[in-house]
Amino acid sequence: MAELYPFIKKQDAEVYQALQGEEKRQAEGLELIPSENYVSKAVREANSSNLTNKYSEGYPGKRYYGGQQWTDVVENIARERAKELFDCKFANVQPHAGAPANVAMYFALLEPGDTILGMDLSHGGHLTHGHPVTYLTKIFNFVRYKMKNVDTGEMDYDEMRAVAKREKPKMILAGYSAYPRELDYAKFVDIAKEVGAVTVMDAAHIAGLIAGKACKNPFDYGFDIITTTTHKTLRGPRGGMILTRESEDTAKKIDKSVFPGFQGGPIMNTIAAKAVAFGEAQQPGFKTYAAQIIKNAQAMAEVFEANDIRMITGGTSNHLILADVFGSLGISGQVAEDVLDEVGITLNKNSIADDTRKPMDPSGIRFGTPAITTRGFKEQECKRVAELMVEAMKKKDDQKTKEAIREEIRGMCKRFPIPDSFV
């Protein structure tokens, strides 16, 4: 095997050692954090390209600096591929990440003081959808909708309509980071039309599932805008993106807000990596990957169900599962996270809907299948992982059992190494 990072090794032993450690950690453990994934070597090569050296403030054809003949082509490829993948007319691929994409989008379309109707954070919404710790809440007025039934995941669309009519939001925001079901996008659009609001989907978690046609595309139901990260299920570099279905006027406002409103020069090496990742997502194999993510998550849910562990919404229709381990097994999310970490499974504690426990030690765990599916796991392996998880949590104080599980996990990782290429 070729030596990793020969140039770093030559000059910086301290960082080199840590990088090697992280390679080993990723290789030998199972990654079940639903927002994490493994990107291809091609994506990582693009990230390491000399495009990092270029300043390209502006957009293709309209840059402030010269020397853009190739960066323009690269950014156009990324935009065209994104538009094709999500079936929309406009794409801005410059946001540095998901949170900056959302911020630029808010300020493009809203005035300070305007109201945004978004998903309740304890029912799955993201920090940037108006968590009090973000500065956005000082500028916009966030109001909430939530699930009607946490055991089926059904949203309370009547309540959403009532809140919309009362609060007159300028924007209705769908999207989430911890909700395992599909939304009824057509209902969002209906309500938005009634109150004259723009519809935005933050698809960061499921963008790959949408691009791979395994989840519904909000644009098909009339949504105006999709924001997303490009890492997660989309399996690209860390970055963000804003897509506009139809309105050129909206797309122009978004472009202006991203640059010069919020950002300076785009990170062109990352934009090249986005283009590579979108190219991968256009391959037929990506559809198979996206479908397998969901099959795998559902296989794991079956095991949890058979073991009488309560799952929020009763299961999953996407890549993630939210399990009430405190209610079902009597151990907190933090304890479960620690025990599973010991046996080589990485996932995160998470608040469940209407959690009575504190966020730093909540009742639930959140886990998902994007990364292990990239490793090549199918239903059979995922079921086995779920069984091992349940066993580890139930016998959390049994050192011998945990060691045996750790060994089995290590063996699975060996059989399914992280691939360098997906095509």
Binding site: I8, V39, S48, P260
Partner: protein, 441 residues
Amino acid sequence: MDYQEIFDQDQSLQQLIVAEELRQARKPTLIPSENHASKAVRSALASRLGDKYSEGYPGARFYPGNDIIDIIEAIAVERAVKLFGVPHANVQAHSGSPANRVIYDTVCKPGDTIMGLGLPDGGHLTHGADASITGKHYKVVRYGLRPDGYLDVEKALGLIEKEKPVLIWVGATAYPRLFPFNAFIDAAERNNCIVAADVSHIAGLIAAEVHPSPVPHAHIVTTTTHKTLRGPRGAIIMTTERGLAFRPGLDKLIDRTLFPGSQGGPHDNVTAAIAIALGEAAHPSFKEYATAIIENAEALASTLMARGLTIATNGTDNHLMLLYCGKGRGIIVQSALQQAGLLGNKNAFPNEQSTAFYPSSVRLGTPAVTTRGMMPPQMVQIAGVIAEAMELVADEVLPEKGRPAYVRDLQQRLASNNKLGELAAFIEHLCSYFPIPDRHF
């Protein structure tokens, strides 16, 4: 083959990346904010650290599996702290504009008065320019330049007393002289105003101690990591001793505003690349590099002036200079230089008489050509090419109307100008002796 994996699955993109690398190799950039990062820095960008979520800070993360990421971020922070002599550094901001945004959100409320150097006078978009969101959310008071092109410090101090801003930005993106960082702090502290130094352009010069540091005279220092500092695209936010004395807890407040206040998960592959670049900047050879940047800039400026051209403030103390091109003619000279194989960017000249999009000067800098190993003799040759290219477009005048069409036509005409083509061939030949290095020491 370079980028083999991309080639295997996406040939057209691999070819584009290689084409861009060739372009960089053959056409040296004199854009002062650009540079060439080492292969070590770039290979960290390609590491699997990009796959990890690490919301939080070392030792206090929201997700597990961060034991090694913690070590890497701690190394980056520790190196920044040591290199700049500050008690606290945050390396998570995605880039310079987001870093500055964090400062606003930490110390200002919308509607507060802030002060910055005007954009045409060399300030940055994020220092309160109209086009930036910062110019919309705050009441912006601008300081500027004297007729001789030097900072009008006296006027700036008067504005602090009169307008009592809550935040003042010190630092510039197109100022060719030593920035008088020490001039503002007393007036600012008297008026309960935070002084934030944005040293993005000159961070490498400061790290190498060839430019005075703002650290003793500012509460906060922000910088990008990719310009003279020669790292990956990213940023560092530092809190100084003075800042902690003036606003106890300022460092923690900044950390909290950055995450969870405005960003999500940090880009750990970039953090590793920042750590490597800071390691390079601490190496003794970096001081030689920074010294050479300034010597080269002086040589370029003095040769251009000897050819009868006008340089703002008659020279430079740092890595950049502003070359006067005639009213509104920056785009003409930028276009001519591009055909001659050189990249500079149009920029406002002190006391600009034209518009922001059609300014009167071209900004030139030496960080990237110095990374290639060029020295004053090569600057003399490059200055000669610049002067000749300018002569070739001496008769071009920017029209009052139909400017975009004129520029398109000009660029087409220049592309087929044989004399500019000869200059480009000369520059390419010169570059062949100074390839972009993979290693910086």
